[in-house]
Point group: C2
Chain length 199, copies 2
Amino acid sequence: MTRPYHHGDLRAALLAAAEEIVNRDGVAGLTLRGVARDVGASHAAPKNHFDDLTGLVSELAAVGFNRFADAMQNAAARHADPQDRLNAIGRAYVEFALAEPGLFQLMFRGERLDKTRPALHGAMLRAFGTLTGSVAATHDDDPDAARSTRATRAHAARAWSMVHGFAVLLLDDRLNPLLDADAPRADALALLDDMLTMG
Amino acid sequence: MTRPYHHGDLRAALLAAAEEIVNRDGVAGLTLRGVARDVGASHAAPKNHFDDLTGLVSELAAVGFNRFADAMQNAAARHADPQDRLNAIGRAYVEFALAEPGLFQLMFRGERLDKTRPALHGAMLRAFGTLTGSVAATHDDDPDAARSTRATRAHAARAWSMVHGFAVLLLDDRLNPLLDADAPRADALALLDDMLTMG
DNA sequence: AGCATTAAATTGACAGCGTCAACATTGTGC
DNA sequence: GCACAATGTTGACGCTGTCAATTTAATGCT
């Protein structure tokens, strides 16, 4: 009745534990030894699957970016008008950040991310491609961002920066002076709607 | 000729060393022991002036937010038209982030910040007040954000989120697909100008 | 079937970190 | 001149990431 020496799928178990930790304790609470403890493995077990902490963080970020891209694509699919689709993507962006704040912050903590890892690089291209491509569609422009016109690039950078900055400031409680003190989170989504639909 | 037991102004020396480290090695490279080493003090010396790492980071962030507010106010003072002033503030926002990337990221790393420290709290109010106040001026509205109209709040949140998101994404090399590969930093300021002046 | 090789996991060690307690030294106020 | 507070130092503790050596299990080859 003793636990087997080999876990079976330790890699997936470590990723699941890491996600739980990061959404409960924040990015700073995520440690290699902590995740190993949570799955009942030895402190150096993660090394076989992720090399080091950067590896674990990067692979978890890849999972996050894929879910992030899914969320934006699902939101976009519910609208036909290009502008409506873009707004829906923006709302999905912020809702994702609010639903999984730790994971979202980890995904944008560049110092512990190895963007050359294939899984992470691909997932990032998916997520950001969804956003910039949807902007190009509102301009009847080439969806490849690198080839788009100057106005489209500016439009994409503006939409992306706005929604990302809003999410970041919101998670860090920086927007409180602009929000309803009683229900800041609920008011935030209303404020976002005003930002998106206003001229 | 031996060093005196008391430094004279160890607190200021520690803050200066901390700033140099954070702009050279990033937020992750900033440690209490490292700062103490750089000024030739013992590893526990910072405790007398900052209690713990959160204290040091928070006091350094306060310095940063005051300089940040100065930069935005100086930029605003060079323009009479309210819209021009707001754009100038936005440019100063991003230029500050590019000039002192480590300090900027530290200022927005909420997990290691004690926002109830008087120095930090006051400096944050100053910085964000100049931004939101300048938005209200373009609407002939009450500069107190809490009392402003719904449209003004949305406008402030939009301007702030946009410029902050742009700075954050830029520092994390996330906007590269939208930028000139040869001179991304220079192109970034041109792109920001398009974002600000476009419709 | 049995053996060699590889993969997966463990143990133990090391240095660096933040933090705390105990102690030493210096400056200040009375 | 003396008590006292402020400032620095030393030493210890547990935590962390990482590496090397080792053990155990699974896999492939003949």
